[in-house]
Each structure stands twice: as C-alpha cells, then as structure tokens.
C-alpha cells in the first residue's frame, strides 16, 4: 500500500470511525454519547467528501455531506434536550440507570 494523500485520508477516516465506535461501547454518560456520535459523524462526512473527490464528482459528495451535517445537528440538538429532561426527571445521566424496561 502506498501512502498517497487519499490513502492517508481513508486511513484517518477509518481510525476516526474506530475511535467513535470504541466511545459508543464504553461511554455511559448521555451527553458524552451525543459527543461520540458527533465524532462518528465527522468520520462519515469526511468519507463522503473523499468518495466525491475520488469519483470526480465533488459537488455531489459535498451536497450529501451537507445533508448529513443538517441531520447530525438535529440529532445532537434533540439528544441534548432529551439529556436535559432526563437529568431533571431521573437525576442521573447514566444510561443503564435510566432504563426502566424490565423483564
């Protein structure tokens, strides 16, 4: 494998996604879960732009990345609002503790 700029970017995207997945597995704080999702989405956005550049259609890659940014922002905003309400109601942000499903 040669270390061309595109290969380096792809390596970085995969590493960023890996760190994000690790964070999703080990994080229990609700606000930090939203943060880890942000890290994952950054990897996805970079991958979309890279795919657009490799296919010679950077405009399409950028437009899909813009869509992902909008959706990601909405997810973050709603997730944070939910975290605030969960903290007010349950007094904790620990995800396993707020799970009331039994059986």
């Amino acid at each position: 494998m040669t270390f061309t700029p595109m290969n380096i970017v792809l390596l970085g995207v995969i590493a960023l996604l890996g760190v994000g997945f690790y964070g999703l597995l080990v994080t229990r704080n609700l606000i930090k879960v939203v943060m880890v999702l942000q890290i994952l989405i950054k990897g996805a956005i970079t991958a979309l732009v890279l795919a657009g550049k490799l296919s010679g259609n950077l405009g399409l890659g950028q437009s899909t990345a813009a869509t992902v940014i909008v959706a990601d922002t909405i997810v973050a905003v709603v997730g944070l609002a939910l975290a605030v309400q969960v903290r007010r109601r349950f007094g904790t942000l620990d995800v396993p503790k707020i799970s009331t499903l039994r059986g």
Binding site: G12, L54, L58, Q62, T67, I69, A83, Q85
Partner: protein, 164 residues
Amino acid sequence: MESITFGLFFLGAIFFAYRAIVSKRILSATIYLACISALVSAVLYRLGAAEVAVMELSVVAGLVNVLLVYAVSVVGDDAFDPPSVVPKPLAFVIVGLIVVLLGWTAFPAVSVYFERGSTTLAVALWQSRVLDVWIQIALIFSGVMGVLGLLSEKTPGKTEEFQP
C-alpha cells in the same frame, strides 16, 4: 508533503477524539470536540470541499458546541464517568474487527477512479437533490419544534414523578 499534512491533521483529530472519550469532565470533552471539528474542517478544505468545511466549522464547531456548553451548564458538570458495561478488552477487540473490515472493504475502492462528470455544489444541491433540500428544511423546523417542546418547563397533563 500533502500526505504529511493530512496525516498530522488526522493524528491530531484522533488524539483529541480519544481524549474527549476518556476525559472525566464534560466541559473538557466539549473543548476537545471543538478541536476535532477544526481539524476535520481543515482536512475538508484541503480536499477541496470548502463549503462543507465552512458548514462544519460554523455549525458543528460553533452551534453544537454552544449547545453542549448550555447543556452542561443546565445539568451541571458533575460528569461522573462510571465504568463501562462492556469490558474494555472486549471493546478493543470489537473495534479492531470493525476497523479491519472497514479497511478491507474500503481500500480497494480508493484505487478505482471513475469519471462521471463534475457538477458544482449549487447544481447538485439545488437541481439534482432539491427534494433533499426541502426535507432538510422540514427537518430543521421539526427539530426546533421538538426542542421547544422538550425544553419546556411544564409538561401538560400527566405530571407523575418517577419512582425508582
């Protein structure tokens, strides 16, 4: 030279991402997240996606981080970090497997160059994907309405307290 630049940007982003995950304080993690956004924006700009880089920097590094700081100020920066439910060695193995599979499927695609004709962002967004733009606008409005409903102090109707 460009490879080194990209490598340095990504090394920084990955370092900050790891620090954001292991950080005990949420506020520190928020600052690390802003640093990741700045570095990813630089990568996007170097890739030629200037518009998306600006969006990433302004929306994600700006708006989302402000919202995170607001959420921290509301809930308090007690930022307990309880031990993970998943054992860390198992998490490392799972993530390693995911990374290997991603690399195995993605790296062959980098060497495949196919020309489909270049379009600008304006054409792609406002002509080819105009329906997506309308959906995004609807999504933004629904998100704003959802947040207003969630952050309202009074809940109509049932106000039963949670009994653990």
